[in-house]
Amino acid sequence: MELTTVWFLLIAVLWTGYFVLEGFDFGVGILLPLLGRDESDRRTLVRSIGPVWDGNEVWLIVAGGATFAAFPEWYATLFSGFYLPLFLILLALIVRGVALEYRGKSDSTRGWDRAFFWGSLGPAFLWGVAFANIVRGVPLDADHEYTGSLLTLLNPYALLGGLATLTLFTLHGAVFIRLKTDGELRERAGRLVRVIGLAALVIGGAFLVTTQLMVGKPATWGSVAVAAVAIAGALVATLRGRDGWSFAANTVAIVAVTVTLFASLWPNVMPALDPANSLTVDNASSTSYTLTVMTWVAVIFMPLVLAYQGWTYWVFRRRLTRVPGGS
């Protein structure tokens, strides 16, 4: 396999990891006002992602860094072209991160909860908008510079993409809360899963089918089908009280959606409206020397990272329970 292919796959893997992991972090934040009826609920919700959210967010930083290293042209065009949406995502991640860390240390939590909510909702929506635009293609000139405006990015298809990731991540958060809590909180999350699950099926389905009709390949019908079955599976598993299976199924759904997007993209990394100006894995990539070096680094360190992050989830695998008679 060519190294450019390897790195296209690796970057797809990094984004998949990011969406799967921070997806439920976002979902928890989005559901906080709905599910957190009292301070005890809200503390439980925040605590459910407490040990892992920061490690999850590093997937984004590494995805960004890997894109910079492996496909500098892609990184440069994407980040400068999507300037204002990325600015909003950054602001959201800043206030959200600070809220998660400072909430438990502050006297008043209301402001932080609001920051956590909006800081989760914003990126959950905007990442969908961004990826829909990447897949759809944007106006690029011969130097691969983005020539559109902010409004170019706010087209109906992209907004549908935003809604799709928003509902999908919210569902992910709901099934995660099912998995990590007990009692009434778990019950309430279960009731929400039914509603959000149906919404995700409809909106996500509409987005994926549109994507498929617009830019899809025959093979991606497969991943679209997997995504739909997996969301339905998550719903059914929740109805049957199988929280682990439900979370696993929704994880598969997010993987399938990300696979659909990246497979539709290939071999482009950033298609232009004028195909002559498109960025592809070949014209956007670093030299084979750099890719070789980075491949070694990834081969050695990715398994290590997966091992210790996996171990973290193992350490905190249990449901959060209220300690009886706790102070």
Binding site: S40, R43, T44, G50, P51, V52, D54, G55, E57, V58, I61, G64, G65, F68, A69, A70, P72, E73, Y75, T77, F79, S80, Y83, L84, L86, F87, L90, L91, L93, I94, G97, V98, L100, E101, Y102, K105, S106, E145, Y146, T147, S286, T287, Y289, T290, V293, V297, A298, F301, V305, Y308, V315, F316, R317, R318, R319, L320, T321, R322, G326, S327
Partner: protein, 462 residues
């Protein structure tokens, strides 16, 4: 102001701001790990209290470092897309390595440390804070390797077809002589910072005669750290300056307001210059000082701004190759001055607290509290010096800052983000400082007290 100016302001503001938190994170992670190790070894509960108390302050600071760090990675692409295209092949590699090797390590293990007190064996739990601390320090290495490449590009070639820099030797980039002297300088600086912070916070409690025995230990430990690290900063800074004289003579000449090439050049202490005409009105010097520092000989040849300008015009074509001399000159001096004051304060503090003593004069403690700010000022001055001193280059000798900016981003967009980041950062600074003060005031938990805050909400357990 155009896109270039605004982008530079934004990069300057966000970077200096980010680097307020980074050195404290780097130094404090090791100090907290040290306290926990001392507790693990001796079983003395005092060390556990110090671990938890300073650990909490560490986490408040760490959060700010993390969230402001994401901006750093993104804005290379957002505001400096032509830079990113030009250097991505070389510069992206250490950045990706930083994420993969260092950021995952620190964030994952810090999560385990915060929430793992009752989930992990004491030894394993101790290992998690060390893993996080190692990750933090490792991240400094990679990002400094990336920055050093901008100061002194090595291990690359310029592709004549694409006009881009291409990596030819990763090992050369990672062992760049500039990196090898910059890394210890920054790390020692981080320890000066964390030492001054711990000493100042301890002094706050000593001033109020609270937990005197406990904070005497932390104050003396911290001042020792600051003093030893200051020696490290000075030595590594000296090597750095020698390498800079060789690699970026213009920056050094500007730092010294040395206008003409000189043998036996003096070290300037105070100068008032005429930048327009390239000369000084007043220049108070230590004779032979600069030659000695730069070349290890009294009559060493040191290059001056005007002569370097002439040589650069011959080498790189017409243009102005002078950084803002006044800023280079004063930021360099202020960096050294603030750093030396921090060291002197630590020395005086160690002397005053020797053999069980504790000074009665409240001003002594107040000075230590105020002294927290000194290393932060020194760190900021150091970065302002080295980055502005490199101008007009963004990558020394091969890419100018004016050519690095994103061509597709307009003034309005940069103005929005510049104002946005600045406002949010300002609000967060207030929030962070208030939170730090709150927890400094609360002080360490009494011995044997449970971790969970005592209120009506039930405790949680996994």
């Amino acid at each position: 102001m155009d896109v270039l100016d605004l982008s530079r302001w934004q990069f300057g503001i966000t970077t200096v701001y980010h680097f307020l938190f980074v050195p404290l994170t780097i130094g404090l992670s090791i100090i907290v790990a040290g306290f926990q190790t001392a507790w693990h070894r001796t079983g003395n509960p005092a060390y556990l209290r110090l671990t938890k108390f300073f650990g909490k302050l560490f986490l408040i600071n760490f959060a700010m470092g993390v969230v402001t760090g994401i901006v750093q990675e993104f804005q290379f692409g957002m505001n400096w897309s032509d830079y990113s295209r030009f250097v991505g092949d070389v510069f992206g590699a250490p950045l990706a390595m930083e994420g993969l090797m260092a950021f995952f390590l620190e964030s994952t293990f810090l999560g385990l440390w915060i929430f793992g007190w009752d989930k992990l064996s004491p030894r394993l739990h101790l290992a998690t804070i060390w893993a996080a601390a190692i990750g933090t320090n490792l991240s400094a290495y990679f990002i400094l390797a990336a920055n050093s490449w901008m100061q002194h590009p090595v291990g690359y070639r310029l592709n004549p077809v694409t006009g881009r820099a291409e990596l030819t030797d990763i090992w050369a980039v990672l062992t760049n002589s500039t990196t090898l002297v910059t890394f210890p300088h920054v790390i020692f600086g981080a320890f000066v910072t964390a030492g001054a912070f711990v000493a100042g916070v301890s002094a706050w409690h000593l001033l109020r005669k609270k937990d005197v025995e406990l904070f005497r230990v932390s104050a003396r430990t911290a001042m020792t750290v600051t003093l030893v690290a200051s020696i490290g900063v000075a030595l590594s800074g000296h090597w750095q300056a020698q390498i800079m004289t060789e690699q970026q003579p213009m920056k050094m000449a500007a730092a010294e307001a040395l206008w003409e090439d000189e043998n036996s050049a003096g070290f300037s202490l105070f100068a008032v210059g005429d930048v327009e005409n390239g000369r000084n009105h007043i220049n108070l010097q230590i004779p032979y000082g600069l030659s000695l520092l730069s070349t290890n000989t009294l009559d060493g040849h040191v290059e001056g701004v005007n002569d370097i300008q002439t040589r650069y015009e011959a080498a790189y074509g017409p243009g102005d190759y002078k950084p803002v001399v006044g800023i280079a000159y004063w930021s360099f001096r202020l960096m050294i001055g603030f750093g030396m004051l921090a060291a002197l304060l630590a020395l005086a503090g160690l002397w005053a607290t020797r053999r069980g003593r504790l000074p009665d004069n409240p001003w002594f403690h107040r000075l230590a509290i105020l002294g927290i700010g000194l290393p932060f000022l020194a760190n900021s001055m150091g970065w302002i010096f080295t980055e502005m001193g490199r101008q007009p280059w963004t990558v020394f000798g091969i890419m100018r800052t004016a050519a690095a900016v994103s061509p597709g981003v307009d003034v309005t967009e940069v103005a929005i983000t510049l104002v946005g980041f600045t406002l949010v950062y300002a609000v967060l600074a207030v929030v962070e400082i208030r939170l730090l003060l709150k927890f400094i005031r609360i002080g360490p938990d009494a011995e044997g007290e449970p971790d969970q805050p005592t209120d009506t909400v039930p405790a949680l357990s996994y």
